[in-house]
């Protein structure tokens, strides 16, 4: 391990009470204007306007705090959140800088105080951006049209499943085509949304090359195949070189092919989904295109498709007519809506801004740097005792992330990858990503450096991992009982699935505590 000295770190500890425990009777955080005398005289009283059975009987037991107390409470909570203030190489999520300019611009009334039902004449600016981003994504993917209505990558996958329904129904084949094929390395949302849209899910397992074989796909397709939903490269950084053949096989069987571009960062500007034959694809604007993640949204799964599928897209669509932009609210074959309105518009503006800040050359550079950084990490990571790589016999360089395993360390020390994750945050390192379910690689972890992090940050991250692994061998109890420098100690979630003990609200918690005491 490195000789470098690790920095001292300790998270803010506030022992912050639950907000419902705070405050005093009568205190106020926000006042409302009194209704004008004439308003009151004309309108009458609450009692007169709302019948007894429809009125609230007891005031809600919300906290009573001054404005400052509320502000301070939530600032304390922000400080008790590491929140990428350290180094976050959270794989599959492509951690990026979220330019402050974009936050400031989108917070202004010209976007924040727009209503989606305004006349299009009053929305020309935002319509131009929505349209322009669609064009940029079309250039990157070869698709014909993008929509931003899906509220995340999973929602884009759901959109695909819904479009698959509509497409086959239009062709009179829906009753017959009831299967969607995916792989075990595709994000769980592909399988889940296909099922939620009413399809049976066929999941292909991996084979020795790190992806399912062409033969396996050929055996899976049939007259029942509605679509293929697949990512490439996968989360191990392995690229399926047969993907073009895959699309041909699915098309020959009569199905649609959807490219989940969750892992687009490493292949940006090198691949166009449409040129590989795909009918549709999805980009995550909150991931690849520099919009913030918000700890889980608001997000955008930008869904793009070929000309043939445009009629089925959810509406509205933004159209350009000379130098004017118009809104197409409905389409006869459209699936309708997957969510109200046109999507998380501020995120669309932020992604547009990011794409303009980089341009084609910058996007290429970002892809190069992210793959370079990932490959830079590999040699140092594999030098750490107990660390191994998924499919180690595959020697070709991985793309923007690689899945590793700490199974060797676990076997020798009993310390798990979760323990290591809990210990690394003691050094101010944001949690790493392990793996989606199911774990194909034991004790997995998946760092992704992207183009944001400096070589020094990446080195430091590896230094911390090496230090923690060394602790696992020398003082395993320190790692197992971690964290020690965080806002709180290790959480005991053993009761979280027990109906007698789970509590998603303070009301439930208090009731169960009282029962337990009684």
């Amino acid at each position: 391990m490195s000789e470098r000295t690790l920095r001292r770190y300790h998270a803010a500890v506030w022992d912050e009470p639950i907000v419902l425990e705070l405050g005093r009777e009568g205190r106020r955080g926000m006042l409302l204007p009194a209704p004008e005398a004439e308003v009151r005289a004309t309108a009458g009283s609450v009692e007169a306007l709302i019948p007894q059975g429809a009125r609230r009987q007891r005031p809600p037991e919300l906290p009573q705090l001054s404005e400052f107390e509320v502000q301070r409470h939530y600032l304390h909570l922000s400080q008790e959140t590491l929140g990428m203030m350290g180094i976050s190489l959270f794989g599959t999520c492509t951690m990026k800088y979220n330019p402050r300019l974009n936050e400031l611009v989108t917070a202004r009334p010209w976007l924040a105080e727009l209503h989606p039902g305004q006349d299009e004449e009053t929305l020309q600016g935002v319509l131009e951006i929505v349209h322009s981003l669609s064009e940029i994504l079309c250039e990157l993917s070869g698709m014909s049209q993008f929509v931003f209505q899906p509220g995340g990558g999973a929602d884009a996958a759901y959109t695909q499943a819904c479009i698959t329904r509509a497409y086959h129904e239009h062709r009179g084949e829906l009753a017959q085509r009831d299967e969607i094929i995916t792989t075990i390395q595709a994000h769980p949302c592909n399988a889940a949304t296909a099922a939620a849209a009413g399809f049976k899910v066929v999941t292909l397992p991996l084979e020795e090359d790190g992806y399912p074989s062409v033969a396996a796909l050929e055996a899976a397709v049939s007259e029942r195949t509605a679509a293929l939903m697949v990512n490439n490269p996968d989360d191990m950084g392995i690229y399926n070189p047969n993907i073009r053949r895959w699309v041909e096989i699915v098309h020959a069987a009569g199905g649609l092919a959807f490219y989940d571009h969750a892992n687009f960062n490493g292949v940006m500007s090198r691949l166009r989904a449409r040129e590989l034959g795909f009918d549709a694809c999805m980009f995550m604007l909150h991931k690849t295109f520099g919009a913030p993640k918000g700890g889980g949204g608001p997000a955008v799964g930008a869904y793009g498709c070929s000309e043939e599928l445009v009629p089925f897209l959810p509406r509205p669509l933004v159209r350009r007519d000379g130098d004017r932009y118009t809104i197409e609210h409905e389409g006869p074959l459209s699936i309708g809506r997957v969510r109200e309105f046109w999507g998380n518009v501020p995120q669309v503006v932020k992604a547009y801004s990011w794409a303009r800040a980089l341009g084609a050359e910058g996007i290429r550079r970002a892809a190069d740097l992210s793959v370079l950084a990932n490959n830079y990490m590999e040699e140092r990571l594999l030098a750490i005792r107990g660390v191994s790589k998924s499919f180690p016999e595959l020697t070709a360089p991985r793309l923007e992330m690689t899945r590793y395993s700490l199974a060797g360390m676990t076997e020798e020390t009993g310390v798990t990858v979760l323990d290591v994750q809990n210990r690394m945050v003691d050094y101010g390192i944001d949690a790493f990503w392990l793996s989606h379910e199911p774990w194909i690689v034991p004790e997995p972890f998946t760092p992704e450096a992207g183009e944001l992090w400096s070589k020094e940050d990446i080195d430091y991250w590896i230094d911390v991992l090496a230090a923690v692994v060394q602790e696992a061998y020398e003082r395993p109890e320190v790692v197992r009982s971690a964290p020690h420098n965080q806002a709180i100690h290790k959480v005991d979630g053993s009761g979280a699935d027990d109906p007698e003990r789970w509590a998603t609200t303070w009301r439930a918690y208090q009731r169960k505590q009282n029962l337990a005491v009684a």
């Binding site: 998270a11 106020r28 926000m30 308003v39 709302i50 059975g53 009125r55 609230r56 809600p60 919300l62 409470h73 959140t81 990428m84 203030m85 959270f90 990026k96 009334p109 976007l111 209503h115 039902g117 305004q118 004449e121 009053t122 600016g125 999973a154 819904c162 769980p188 399988a191 939620a196 993907i243 292949v267 090198r270 913030p292 918000g294 700890g295 889980g296 949204g297 608001p298 809506r337 309105f341 518009v345 980089l358 341009g359 740097l369 793959v371 070709a396 360089p397 994750q421 945050v425 949690a431 183009e451 992090w453 070589k455 709180i488 109906p499 003990r501 789970w502 998603t504 609200t505 009301r507």
Partner: protein, 465 residues
């Protein structure tokens, strides 16, 4: 240009990139893409508009485009219908832009403790407003929440029909239809419309009773309704649903719950609704979010598709932390065997919603509810007094239907004329609700003063002259 580093990429200076290349043992990053077959590579180079790498240029560009919008702060707006203009407290804006909440994805239960607590406080305070004990983390929107709730009800009952009012918001209904799957799919849920009473805009309870059958998985009713009308006897609706073994699913705007009865008070089984009113800007519709809540009974909890956090102990006696609960039933835990699916949602807004509810407190919600009620009724009285103009239903909250049929004008023409007077009139219902003819849905909230409403009345007087 390419010789300069880009501010978003630490290793983009050529000498720093070359340092990494040397360490990896390649002369160019191109060598690292050996996995991709040559015939997969883009056939033509990517062509995009020229980069605006400096913030100076980028800022100017964005301002020049967005400055062409006409927003609801500059223009007096009465638009509602699923996205509403409410006051957003400045503290909410500060919390929404805190980098620790804004930028990251997931941490550990310890390193994410503050955010987990904020999420728990979102659920807890919403639970107080709703008088319900189990609240999931939010989903994308009200329509999505309703869609999930109806699927929950169908799974719970094994039935496949849901009764809904015939007056629904078209956007929300379109989302619900998507979630309920088209006929022919194995999970299809039929949405069957129950007539509303033309005099009140509320459900015709006799018709509801007649429509209930052993196929009914749920009765779905919104209070206030999509067009503003407030059900007078929600307890009776719930009782009717229960008498036929159906779940009572209620859509409720939380901003109304300082004055309107919370779903828990009248026995609703599942409540859904919007979160945007709780401190989130309209954002051109990009502020929407939805919640799902129920009684804290295992039967319901096991059907949630969402993630949620539970208050838990830590290894330190007396210390509290939070853990995900019922993760295994989510799509993250069980792929296609989980309940529907989950993924990124609107979790940042949940933190903002929590701060909003803390700011208002019980007195704030009561005052806000009363203010909206009185001002919207004042507006309705004034508008209803204009020649040829009528307000459809007497009992409403925040939104109401203004009937222009007897003016001989279309809503489109009226709204065009209002726009010339810097007013966005109410949403045009003529195509979404043709049975109402030329009618518009007006929304009045705490941001509308009496003066604003009087200005609208004066403008309409002129326009309709």
């Amino acid at each position: 240009m390419t010789s300069r580093a880009h501010p978003y990429m630490a290793n983009s200076a050529p000498e720093l990139r070359d340092e990494l290349c040397r360490a990896v043992g390649v002369s160019s990053p191109d060598e690292l893409f050996a996995q991709i077959p040559a015939d997969h590579l883009t056939r033509t180079p990517i062509e995009l508009p020229p980069p605006l790498a400096s913030e100076v240029e980028l800022s100017r560009h964005l301002r020049s485009i967005l400055g062409r919008n006409v927003d609801c702060e500059r223009t007096l707006s009465f638009l509602g219908g699923g996205c509403w203009q409410h006051h957003v407290p400045a503290v909410c804006d500060e919390i929404a832009t805190r980098t620790e909440f804004l930028t990251p994805v997931w941490g550990t239960p310890s390193s994410d403790h503050g955010r987990n607590q904020a999420w728990f406080e979102f659920s807890s305070q919403l639970g107080e407003l709703l008088e319900l004990d189990f609240v999931g983390l939010p989903v994308y929107s009200w329509g999505c929440a309703a869609g999930h709730a109806l699927r929950m009800a169908a799974r719970l009952t094994g039935r496949d029909v849901v009764l809904i009012p015939d007056l629904m918001d078209p956007e929300r209904l379109a989302v619900m239809r998507t979630y309920c799957e088209p006929p022919g799919m194995r999970g299809h849920i039929e949405l069957r419309a129950v007539p509303t009473d033309p005099a009140t805009g509320t459900l015709d309870l006799d018709a509801l009773e007649a429509a209930l059958s052993e196929r009914a998985a749920a009765v779905y009713v919104e209070i206030p309704g999509a067009l503003g009308a407030v059900e007078r006897d929600p307890e009776r609706i719930v009782a009717l649903a229960h008498a036929h073994g159906a779940e009572a699913v209620v859509g409720a705007d939380p901003i109304s719950l300082g004055v309107l009865a919370p779903p828990g008070q009248y026995g609703a089984d599942i409540a859904v609704g919007p979160t945007q009113p709780l401190g989130v800007h309209m954002n051109c519709g990009g502020g929407v979010g939805g919640f799902i809540a129920s009684r804290d009974e295992e039967r319901y909890a096991r059907e949630y598709p969402t993630l949620q956090v539970s208050l838990c102990p830590t290894t330190e006696p007396g210390e509290r932390g939070f853990s995900l609960t019922l993760f295994e039933q989510s799509s993250y835990g069980s792929r296609e065997l989980g309940n529907d699916w989950t993924g990124n949602s609107v979790y940042l807004w949940a933190v903002v919603n929590a701060a909003y509810m803390s700011l208002l407190g019980p007195a704030g919600f009561a005052e806000l509810g009363e203010l909206i009620l009185l001002r919207s009724h004042y507006a309705a009285r004034r508008l209803g007094a204009l020649p040829g103009v009528a307000v459809r239903w007497p009992g409403f909250f925040k939104e109401f239907v203004v009937d222009f049929n007897r003016t001989g004008r279309t809503v489109a023409a009226i709204n065009r004329a209002l726009r010339e007077r810097d007013i966005f009139g109410g949403g045009d219902l003529s195509s979404s609700h043709p049975q109402l003819g030329q009618s518009a849905l007006y929304c009045v909230t705490e941001i509308h003063t009496q003066e604003d409403i009087d200005r609208l009345v004066a403008a309409l007087t002129e326009v309709l002259r």
